[in-house]
């Protein structure tokens, strides 16, 4: 009896691990990966593979150089890689995807301390950096061959901005049969993945519901003629289920999550309605990411017994 371990309690832990959570997120993204292949062909899978490989390798390389433990086993770089690829058009040159992946992992994630320390969503920050660096190719959207006439050479959001949103076929928007970046088009596939995450207890429905719901309401208030078509278009479902639910860059408490979701919805609706840009999801989430420390401060629960006595 001399092999007894002596540690501080508790002595049992739940089966949930960081790696398990990341694996669940990867599984949840599979339907959207399949949709991207169906609508944009094999090049979609190529870009996903390139982004994943570059994210994993650049994380490992950075950690080796910085003499930090290599955390690739936690699968978080794989998640970031898929999410970044989901934000790229299928026509993007591979070398640009390589550079985007390296910047995302090294600059946005690792330079700020790695997993759990980044202050904005790495994939979204990577997308924005790429959007300003590769202005032409990042908006060179691919269009599915079988897309409806109205959607064969324009994204739904640009159709809505042009004032023709009421004519858009809603089922095509929901299924994803239109142009856009890889992972955003199929609301159906994203919804399946999102429900999987909710059922597995990985995310709570509060942010997606608050975000999508408030976007709809604010768009309607701002006089958008086709708010329903608008929420089914662009990156809203991808953002609401997969980006705005990233643990590290969103608030801790339910009240905080609600504020975060409503804020994202407001900013998205403002950008889509009033700004010179058709899309606002990336900026909405990134801006809200920045005020998360404040939201956490506002919504921190009072310790038990410190509330004023009744």
């Amino acid at each position: 009896m001399n092999n007894l371990t002596v540690t501080s309690s508790p002595h049992i832990t739940s089966p949930r691990t960081t790696t398990g959570i990341m694996l669940d997120v990867i599984i949840a993204m599979v339907p959207a990966m399949i949709a991207s292949f169906l609508f944009f062909g094999a090049r979609a899978l190529l870009l996903i593979a390139v982004c994943v490989a570059c994210c994993v390798l650049s994380e490992a390389a950075y950690c080796l150089l910085a003499k930090k433990p290599v955390p690739v086993g936690d699968l978080s770089a794989v998640v970031t890689g898929v999410m970044l690829a989901f934000n790229l058009p299928a026509t993007l040159p591979v070398w640009q995807a390589v550079i985007g992946s390296i910047v995302t992992i090294v600059v946005v994630k690792q330079l700020f301390g790695g997993i759990g320390c980044n202050f904005v969503n790495p994939a979204l920050a990577g997308r924005v950096i790429m959007a300003v660096s590769f202005t032409g190719t990042m908006v060179n959207y691919a269009y599915p061959a079988q897309a409806a006439d109205a959607l064969s050479s324009a994204t739904p959001l640009s159709v809505i901005t042009a004032g023709n949103g009421a004519k858009l076929p809603l089922w095509d928007l929901f299924a994803g049969n239109h142009g856009g970046v890889l992972g955003e088009t199929s609301c159906l596939a994203l919804l399946i993945g999102g429900l999987y995450l909710i059922l597995r207890g990985v995310i709570k429905p509060i942010i997606p519901i608050a975000y999508i719901g408030s976007t709809f309401i604010f768009l309607a208030l701002f006089g958008c003629e086709a708010p329903l078509a608008s929420i089914l278009s662009g990156g809203l479902f991808l953002g609401a289920f997969f980006m705005a639910t990233d643990y590290t860059t969103t608030p801790y408490t339910n009240t905080g999550k609600l504020i975060f979701g409503l804020g994202c919805g407001l900013i998205t609706a403002v950008i889509r309605t009033f700004a010179n840009s058709t899309e606002g999801v990336s900026y909405a989430i990134l801006l809200m990411n920045l005020i998360v420390p404040y939201i956490n401060g506002w919504t921190r629960r009072k310790p038990y017994g410190t509330e004023a006595a009744k």
Partner: protein
């Protein structure tokens, strides 16, 4: 959430592992010798009042309480005192102990007689003689709890029968085997202390106990309440809030919320003590875990070495990775199975390597699960970053001192961080800083 009227206490689902719930209590072990610690409670240690060579009976006083917040200690066997010793308890403190060689007869002390109790004062005096401490785990001297301070309006007696720790079924066996003692104890305490409401709070995973207690309490105005089987339902403050809707103010006692909380085994003992006068000398223990041959419930003389308890349960059945005194959420890990059983032990668990949670301190991913789980509404994730920065003021501002060390945060953490341990260290830092001032 703000819109809930009743105060909400967060809880966590932990596995129950109540493997031994149908194992009837087996009779007293007969150890060759017992080692009786003079400090088995919160408060001042007892002072030894026997010397080497003295003959003692079961129930003979061997250590006299060293103050009001302290407790008497009695011999659990009949035999001869072979000496005094000092050993290191699992908390790292050096404590005195009396070693008694048993004659195997278990002859009770002939001078033992039921105490005469007629009011609150005589009840407190009698219980102070009995050496009773809170048997749920904390080991707070019971006579101190029963001495309700002048001016406090205690109107609710709560019997803590939640037994929310995984594996442990010793309180459950008490409820199933001796329900009349529990009911009798409740009636006695309520009557003598003049408390209006009496509640026995049981977790929903013990339907047989609830049914039995309800049947026996009919007409006695005792409520038997079924609570959800969530962890930590049996933590004193959690229980008070879930039973009465009241909140114990931070840094205050249950009496400040009008409640007196006693553990099932404590109430049962009070009943037996008032009937027989036999002090606290033995304890019902659950022995379980993957490294034990036969999970069981045993009645064990206090001071029996853990090794003999495991032997009585068929010995070790495989590699024992951790030997625990108490449950897996709040129990203490032992470094050796030579350590003796204490008054407030309710389980000995020998966990196999695969049953033990592996803590790795991977980076925090800020998922907020610890915050959601914390029954004290703390923010363990933020307290640990304050701790890493050495920011004592921030740790205090975040309310680290309110931590009850229930272990929920570490249990739910997907990064397998030792959050509860960091909370303990934070409390230590705050105390250190306060004592410097």
């Amino acid at each position: 959430m703000i819109f809930l009227k009743k105060p909400h206490v967060s809880s966590t689902r932990v596995p129950h592992y109540k493997n031994t719930q149908d194992c009837a209590t087996e009779k007293l072990l007969s150890p060759k010798s017992v080692t009786i610690l003079l400090s088995q409670h919160i408060g001042a240690p007892a002072a030894a009042c026997v010397a080497k060579g003295d003959h003692v009976y079961v129930g003979t006083l061997v250590g006299k309480a060293g103050g009001f917040v302290s407790a008497n200690v009695h011999s659990s066997v009949s035999g001869t005192v072979s000496g005094l010793t000092e050993l290191v308890n699992p908390m790292g403190a050096h404590v005195q102990a009396v070693i008694i060689e048993s004659d195997g007869q278990f002859t009770p002390n002939p001078s033992i007689a039921p105490p005469e109790v007629s009011d609150a004062k005589s009840l407190v005096a009698a219980i102070a003689q009995s050496g009773l401490v809170g048997l749920g785990g904390a080991g707070f001297p019971t006579h101190v709890k029963l001495s309700i301070p002048e001016g406090a309006n205690v109107d609710t007696l709560i019997v803590n029968a939640a037994e929310c720790e995984p594996y442990i079924t010793s309180d459950y066996r008490e409820m199933v085997e001796f329900p009349e003692r529990i009911i009798g104890g409740v009636c006695k305490v309520r009557e003598l202390l003049g408390i209006k409401r009496a509640v026995i709070a049981v977790e929903a995973n013990k339907p047989a106990a609830i049914e039995t207690l309800r049947r026996l309490s009919e007409g006695k105005q005792i409520e038997v309440i079924k609570l959800p089987s969530t962890y930590p339902q049996g933590a004193e403050k959690v229980l008070i809030t879930n039973v009465t809707g009241r909140v114990v103010p931070a840094g205050k006692l249950p009496a400040d919320a009008g409640c007196l909380v006693l553990n099932t085994a404590t109430v049962s003992f009070i009943h037996e003590y008032l009937r027989t006068g036999m002090p606290l000398v033995s304890k019902r223990l659950t022995v379980d875990g993957g490294a034990v041959a036969r999970g069981c419930n045993l009645m064990v003389p206090i001071g029996t070495p853990v090794r003999e308890v495991i032997e009585a349960a068929g010995g070790y059945s495989g590699e024992c990775a951790k030997l625990l005194m108490g449950g897996p959420m709040m129990g203490t890990a032992l470094a050796s199975d030579e350590f003796p059983i204490l008054k407030n032990n309710n389980a000995i668990l020998a966990l196999s390597p695969e049953q033990v949670g592996q803590l790795k301190n991977n980076p925090c991913i800020r998922c907020g699960r610890c915050i959601e789980a914390c029954p004290m509404n703390l923010s363990p994730a933020e307290i640990q970053t304050a701790f890493e920065r050495g920011d004592v003021e921030e740790m205090q501002a975040l309310g680290a001192m309110n931590c009850i060390e229930c272990g929920s945060c570490t249990f739910v953490c997907p990064a397998k961080r030792t959050i509860t341990q960091i909370m303990r260290l934070s409390k230590g830092e705050i105390r250190k800083a306060a004592s410097k001032k």
